[in-house]
């Protein structure tokens, strides 16, 4: 995997964002990310064999389906090549990566473009919540919360509070928020890059208000509403050579997994993300490694509680110990396991269909030393990284293990 690119994550928090003013649309983001990748292989767009574009709800946010048709718009050299949109809610970007990996493994392509895009700020949040609710089972929409997914994860947080303690948990969630914003401040494309709040944990401890939002989470516990695109190439070794990419500028895909949980069934235990746990275990097994060999993780913190539950799903902390693990700084950029080093979904942003690809780009940047101010030190004894991209409430999960090339 090589030649990644993230556009800005556009939305509230960015100084150039104004809800009442015209903004770039899908075409802009697809074009910017795609052209940047092609520029990274010396404008040789003809070398790209196939493209997958992850997107969740352009059909409703932008009244635009059929996104595969936008791939040739990027570069005339892509005309006539296979291109298709893939969808798995917020894991759509992960599915684009998985599809690209399959294509390379199947030998149908040596150079495959994986892209993700979402433009969500076309709707007010209260209507956007309807659109995003489609990531859950529609039969549950009627009984669900106005802010459907915050409601789902509020229920998870409530269950976690009840079992392990409210104040204890909220401290962990507040630290997760602090880490996210501090990391985002190091990444110019992050939505929270300009965040100037001094006492982030105090802000994050704002009491949830169920009368206007959800019972157990506040807005700081939630990821952003974002517009943006990310793109990266998945290549065979032959593809790397064709494109003239040095191995040290690429990362190896050491293992991966893709799992789905029954969308019509409630989670057996709200304090456990079972599909994520399974996906991580499968990906690690596929790579033949353990978490002890992983230097950094990009995980799907659509909500702070998802971050804490993700830590437990990875086995970094025992059940109920995730909040303490986070609160103690273990997941901070200088902790034992730096997680979401450019802010994750809460700090960098969450253009839903792009998020999985954004995670891969971030990992690629970290493992190849291209992360700029956000760069962390990769221990040579731990050359692996992991990304976890989740769709819905722990329903579709794509986990990928990457290895630094020496």
């Amino acid at each position: 995997m090589a030649v990644g690119y993230n556009t800005i994550s556009m939305g509230t928090g960015r100084p150039e964002f104004h809800p009442a003013k015209p903004r770039p649309g899908l075409e802009h983001y697809i074009s910017e990310a795609g052209k940047a990748v092609i520029a990274g292989i010396n404008q040789q767009g003809d070398l790209i064999d196939e493209a997958f574009i992850g997107n969740f709800q352009a059909s409703l946010f932008n009244k635009q389906a059929h996104l595969g048709g936008f791939i040739p718009m990027i570069d005339p050299a892509l005309a006539g090549k296979p291109a298709m949109r893939v969808e798995g809610a917020c894991a759509s970007g992960g599915l684009a990566l998985a599809s690209a990996i399959r294509s390379v493994l199947a030998g149908t392509g040596d150079v495959v473009l994986a892209m993700g895009v979402e433009v969500q700020n076309t709707l007010k949040a209260i209507y956007g919540a309807d659109v995003l609710a489609a990531a859950g089972w529609y039969q549950k929409r009627k009984s669900g919360h106005a802010y459907f997914f915050p409601g789902q994860f509020s229920n998870r947080a409530g269950a976690y509070y009840e079992r392990f303690g409210r104040d204890y948990t909220r401290k962990g969630l507040a630290r997760w928020f602090k880490n996210a914003i501090e990391n985002a401040r190091l990444c110019p494309t992050a939505q929270e890059f300009e965040n100037k709040v001094v006492d982030l944990e105090a802000l994050a401890l704002t009491e949830p208000n169920g009368k206007f939002f959800v019972d157990h989470l506040n807005v700081y516990d939630c990821s952003k509403v974002s517009d943006g695109a990310s793109a990266i190439l998945v290549l065979s070794e032959e593809g790397l050579k064709k494109c003239g990419i040095n191995p040290e500028d690429a990362v190896e895909i050491a293992g991966w997994s893709q799992v789905a949980r029954d969308i019509t069934a409630d989670p057996e235990d709200l304090t456990v993300m079972s599909a994520t746990r399974l996906a991580v275990a499968k990906a690690l097994k596929s790579a033949g490694i353990s978490m002890n060999q992983v230097s950094t993780v990009e995980t799907h913190d659509c909500f702070t509680i998802a971050g804490v539950l993700g830590v437990e799903a990875m086995g970094l902390a025992a059940h109920g110990q995730g909040a303490a693990f986070v609160a103690d700084g273990a997941t901070a950029r200088d902790g034992v396991m730096p997680i979401n080093t450019t802010g994750g979904l809460i700090g960098w942003g969450h253009p839903t269909g792009a998020t999985g690809v954004h995670q891969a780009v971030t990992v690629w940047e970290q493992l190849t030393g291209k992360a700029g101010a956000a760069q962390i030190i990769i221990n040579p004894d731990k050359p692996y990284a992991l990304s976890i991209n989740m769709g819905g409430d722990d329903v579709t999960v794509v986990a990928i293990v990457y290895k630094k090339n020496h």
């Binding site: 007010k124 209260i126 209507y127 309807d130 929409r141 009627k142 106005a146 009368k211 206007f212």
Partner: protein
């Protein structure tokens, strides 16, 4: 009669006007929310939105639709709860649209005053004309079998006077919203001496249901808000007149406006406020106060002359400021009316004169916007007045004189029995006029 029965048929007179439309919005949503909250009981309110102008009535419908939609978007969590038994409502947009539709369905938009004959409650927001108000009350009351309770939005006319002339026998209360009613928190409640106690109690409860900050004023023309504002304005005009012996009238106007805005930390200067309210409205309020409070010379030849010259101020239907004593561009003062030249004088030419006369603005003085955000506003204001006291420049001296006069007006409102306390006076000025402090203070 059960109060809920009174709420089943409500009329708003002047419904499509500036104040009426805000009252319509608040009343419509409150009645609908009551209906939705009490689904076990049979409560089907209707609101007669009465206005003689068909075009503005159409505008009212559009205004309600837009504003109710915005409100519904903010309370969708609650809407999903109260409409949960409606199987066809699934997405937020379904609930929101249903609420807007339900809100509009309880309003009867009409030009016919006869529609109020079956109302139990009548909210009057017609223009500030006692004869018109009396005519409306009398006609409705004479044709109604329901002994309606009347609420008037008058900001100056004594309630007892209107009650007596309309033969309402205590079925009238002053219910003075501030502009815009949907936003402004303050409501002056003015029971007349003979207002029925049960009406006064109901009015206070209703104001609180609308989430208003209620201040009770005695029934003396101008009440608390205009009682202070008009005297404050007359003081500014008298100081302006004095200054105009040495300076041009535009410079003198701008001087007093700057002192009241910047030195006294108010959201707008005194003459800009006059434009905001409408110079013709100010003239009318003064005439009412002068009539009912004789011997106090509550009158201004200067204001009369402005009206004669067609300089009226006021607002456009979208809320933007019309030109008055000042000319505005994007809300900013760009010129000042010169009554002698009968044309506007460019502000850029007047400002240097004003600044030179007032002297250097003392260091450390903060603008109103900053002060309103301060957690320790009281501490700042103590420091602010200390700075003014330690400054010998003309601007600071005049500001302290103005402040002192304003405080005396506030105290006089209590001494004259208009307000129950200086606290009430201060609440009106800080809540209704957004002053950063009340006029009666010890800073």
């Amino acid at each position: 009669m059960e109060t809920n029965i009174r709420l089943t048929n409500v009329a708003v007179l002047g419904a499509a006007g500036k104040m009426g439309s805000g009252i319509m919005l608040l009343t419509t949503m409150q009645l609908l929310d009551m209906k939705l909250s009490n689904q076990g009981e049979s409560f089907s309110p209707v609101i007669q939105a009465i206005d003689p102008n068909l075009d503005t009535l159409r505008g009212l419908r559009k205004y309600l639709e837009t504003q109710v939609l915005k409100a519904a978007e903010k309370k969708c969590v609650w809407l999903r709860e109260v409409y949960k038994s409606e199987a066809s409502l699934v997405d937020n947009s379904d609930f929101i649209n249903r609420y807007v539709s339900d809100a509009l369905s309880i309003v009867n938009f009409t030009q016919r005053l006869e529609s109020a004959y079956d109302s139990y409650l009548v909210f009057e927001a017609a223009s500030e004309n006692p004869d018109l108000k009396v005519k409306l009350f009398t006609q409705i009351d004479q044709n109604s079998q329901r002994e309606p309770w009347f609420f008037t939005n008058t900001s100056s006319i004594p309630i007892g006077y209107l009650d007596e002339r309309s033969n309402l026998s205590g079925r009238l209360v002053g219910f003075h919203f501030y502009n815009p009613p949907a936003i402004q928190k303050l409501l002056e409640l003015i029971p007349a001496k003979n207002t029925l106690p049960e009406l006064a109690t109901f009015a206070e409860q209703w104001a609180k249901a609308l989430k208003k900050t209620v201040v009770i004023s005695n029934d003396i023309a101008g009440f608390i808000g205009n009682g202070h504002f008009m005297r404050d304005l007359l003081y500014a005009i008298s100081q302006m007149t004095k200054a105009s012996r040495d300076f041009s009238i535009p410079a003198s106007i701008l001087m007093m406006d700057k002192i009241s805005r910047e030195y006294l930390v108010r959201p707008m200067g005194i003459f800009q406020l006059m434009d905001y309210v409408g110079i013709d409205v100010c003239q009318y309020i003064l005439s009412v106060m002068d009539k009912f409070i004789p011997g106090k010379n509550l009158h201004s030849d200067f204001i009369d002359s402005l009206i004669t010259m067609g300089v009226k101020g006021g607002q456009f239907p979208d809320g933007s400021q019309k030109d008055g004593i000042f000319k505005y561009a994007k809300g900013k003062i760009i010129a000042i009316w010169d009554p002698e030249a009968k044309q506007y004088a460019n502000a850029d030419e007047v400002i240097p004169v004003v600044d030179a006369w007032l002297g250097k603005m003392p260091e450390g003085i903060q603008p109103w916007q900053n002060v309103m955000k301060m957690a320790n506003r009281e501490d700042y204001l103590k420091k602010h007045f200390e700075i003014l006291r330690n400054c010998s420049e003309t601007g600071a001296v005049m500001a302290l004189e103005y402040n002192s006069y304003s405080g005396k007006v506030g105290q006089a409102l209590v001494d004259d029995g208009v307000a129950a306390s200086t606290k009430d006076v201060n609440v009106v000025l800080t809540t209704g006029f957004f002053h950063s402090y009340g006029p009666v203070h010890s800073f």
